[in-house]
């Protein structure tokens, strides 16, 4: 019974992945400009043109081209990024840790502030703290991330000088640390270089907080509504009638019951941070995947762009699947 559901889930994930690949493939073919010209420039002669045309497989039928594309993607071969001169895969391997580091700290901030705020808003419904939570929720959902980023830089960096500016490290520290994992904070700790570590903290705290704003808004809003639903249940009254204290009921009964839903939305919120990262990284000159994607876009480099789009799609499908599995695993009723 459970096995068949897992199998069906895997089948549907596979079908979605295949569709995803088809979508990025057609995006690449939708291009109005000639992919051959993009490689050789418009001054090459006809013979070179024909050769590259053949090398790119453009003389083969569309289905063959798609199968070749499929094969390359499955091998993790995204081709060359023309604007950096490296393989897209190795570029991404360098850029991704920077984004993961940023997004992970952001989700810690988002959950750390969002969940308590949401619980407090539900428990003290229609009190000032509830209005504060709802206000923050609305603004978090409406404010453009890139604007918040610029405002943050203006206030906390340019005016107050509380945090460091754009980038992952001060210029003098760049390349002073051996990249073991690509995560600067961890690498600095491995090397035992506390100067670099604190400099990295100084640089990451503002972009991570800005990136966290949106997920904090979503998480607190949903936590509030999940909690309200639990608190209106009769078992809460029963627990109180048994003589349990208000906070014991909230912590051990109501909150425990929303954990399943909460874990699911946190997994999805983490996935959505990737979207915010594109804009936040541009504002903060953060050398992660988002900036790589926009740099590729502005250079008109389809290999780089499609690899990024594909990877985000895969991460999204993956996190959705994780959320589904967690839900099944945590909620005894779905067993």
């Amino acid at each position: 019974m459970r096995l068949s559901r897992v199998a069906r889930g895997a089948g549907s994930v596979l079908a979605t992945m295949l569709g995803l690949l088809a979508l990025t493939f057609f995006m690449g073919r939708m291009l109005p400009n000639d992919p051959v010209i993009a490689v050789i420039g418009d001054h090459a002669d006809q013979a070179t043109y024909d050769m590259v045309y053949h090398q790119l497989g453009l003389d083969k039928p569309l289905t063959t081209q798609f199968l070749l594309y499929l094969g390359a993607m499955l091998r993790g071969d995204f081709g060359n990024a023309l604007f950096t001169g490296h393989r897209v895969a190795s570029d991404l391997a360098r850029a991704f840790p920077a984004t993961i580091e940023l997004a992970t700290i952001a989700i810690v901030i988002g959950v750390g502030l969002g969940v308590p705020l949401g619980v407090a808003a539900a428990v003290f419904r229609n009190s000032p703290i509830d209005y504060l939570a709802r206000c923050l929720g609305l603004i978090g959902a409406s404010a453009p991330t890139f604007w918040l980023g610029i405002m943050g830089l203006m206030v906390f960096y340019a005016s107050l000088g509380w945090v460091a500016g754009p980038g992952r490290l001060d210029v003098s520290f760049i390349d002073s640390i051996e990249p073991h994992t690509g995560f600067l904070l961890i690498d600095a700790l491995i090397e035992g270089d506390m100067d670099v570590f604190w400099n990295a903290v100084d640089h990451i705290i503002l972009p991570a907080s800005i990136l966290a704003a949106g997920s904090m808004a979503t998480i607190s809003r949903l936590t509030r509504s999940f909690m309200l639903e639990q608190l209106s249940q009769e078992y809460i009254v029963t627990a109180r009638a048994k003589g349990l204290s208000k906070w014991a009921v909230i912590r051990r009964h109501a909150f425990r019951n929303i954990l399943v839903q909460l874990v699911t939305i946190i997994a999805l919120a983490y996935a959505f941070l990737l979207e915010g990262a594109v804009l936040t990284e541009t504002v903060f000159a953060w050398p992660g995947f988002g900036r790589y994607l926009t740099a590729g876009l502005l250079a008109g480099d389809m290999n780089a762009v499609l690899a990024c789009v594909l990877i985000v799609g895969v991460i999204f499908i993956g996190l959705n699947m994780v959320a589904d599995l967690l839900y099944t695993w945590l909620d005894p009723r779905t067993r």
């Binding site: 549907s12 079908a15 979605t16 569709g19 995803l20 979508l23 990025t24 995006m27 690449g28 939708m30 291009l31 109005p32 400009n33 609305l138 603004i139 959902a141 409406s142 404010a143 453009p144 991330t145 890139f146 604007w147 610029i150 405002m151 830089l153 203006m154 340019a158 005016s159 509504s225 309200l228 996935a271 959505f272 990737l274 979207e275 594109v278 804009l279 541009t282 504002v283 994607l293 926009t294 590729g296 876009l297 502005l298 008109g300 389809m302 762009v305 499609l306 990024c308 789009v309 985000v312 799609g313 999204f316 499908i317 959705n320």
Partner: protein, 299 residues
């Protein structure tokens, strides 16, 4: 006025028109009860008026440069200051309202019919039609909107027209999913069976009898999505992929202010507030509409 109110709230109606107007009136009364919704509606109304009357409201054209008036702080003459080409930010902002609203309106006009058609067809026919359409839907929904739009803009090339197409392509799936869910709840109702026995074609049943029933929830969905659409459009403009200079698109204006954050704070602050207010207004109106149409979800 009170006679009108009585006519509009009478428990027994005498004409189809009266009944029709009553539902609208009652919805309006409930909308009116929520001050936040009213605020959102006022902001949107103001924005639409600004967009229509832009050339008369703005003291200057959106590309009137004056190099002797560069980077002036806000003053009586230039309410929101001037940019690095000496253009009046207030005038550009007012003209920019047209771009923002045009993007929002066109995306809605393109995405809503597609979503409605796909969703109702999937729900009504079921079987393999449903399976295929919903699988395609899932693929589109497996992306965050901005990333998918970026992919399409990369393929189509930058510019405002392609921004609209790209965002519309990312906006229809959530509408389709909603329309399908609505269709599933009504496709086995007696009135549909009755129309079918009368010999109506599937096309007629879907367009005349199912789509109208889906409309209210689709409208709410679009209004709520509008906030996200505006943020995505501004994001594309910010990245330099949306409206191209000298168009006064808010996201692009904001981006132009990045090089002056320590000096000319107004360059980025003001367009950002405009984007925030617009998307906030759509969120508030969407929440209000949802509460009216589905009181259970109002918490």
């Amino acid at each position: 006025m009170s006679g009108m109110h009585a006519w509009l709230t009478a428990t027994e109606t005498t004409s189809k028109r009266q009944a029709h107007l009553q539902t609208w009136y009652l919805a309006w009364l409930r909308l009116r009860a929520n001050p936040l919704t009213l605020f959102g509606m006022a902001v949107l109304a103001g924005l639409i008026l600004t967009a229509i009357l832009a050339p008369w409201i703005a003291p200057a054209g959106f590309d009137d440069q004056s190099l002797t008036h560069r980077l002036l702080p806000p003053s009586a003459a230039n309410w929101f200051g001037t940019d690095d080409l000496g253009r009046d930010i207030f005038s550009r902002l007012v003209h920019g309202a047209r771009i923002t609203l045009m993007i929002a309106a066109l995306v809605a006009v393109i995405a809503a019919p597609i979503g409605l058609l796909v969703g109702t067809a999937a729900g009504y026919f079921g079987g393999w039609v449903d399976a295929v359409l919903m699988r395609i839907n899932d693929i589109f929904l497996s992306f965050p909107g901005l990333i998918l739009a970026l992919g399409f803009v990369a393929a189509l090339g930058p510019g405002i027209r392609n921004t609209i197409i790209a965002i519309a392509l990312t906006a229809w799936p959530s509408i389709a999913r909603l329309a399908r869910a609505e269709t599933l709840t009504i496709r086995h109702s007696d009135y549909i069976a009755a129309v079918r026995i009368q010999g109506a074609s599937s096309l007629r049943i879907i367009t005349r009898h199912i789509m109208p029933m889906c409309l209210p929830s689709v409208i709410v969905r679009i209004t709520l999505n509008m906030a996200g659409i505006i943020l995505t459009a501004a994001g594309l403009g910010f990245l330099g992929l949306g409206a191209q200079p000298p168009m006064p698109e808010w996201g692009a204006m904001l981006s132009a202010g990045r090089s002056h954050i320590s000096g000319a704070w107004w360059l980025s602050t003001v367009p950002g507030i405009a984007i925030l207010l617009t998307s906030l207004a759509f969120n508030l109106v969407g929440d209000g509409l949802r509460d009216v149409l589905d009181p259970r979800s109002g918490r």
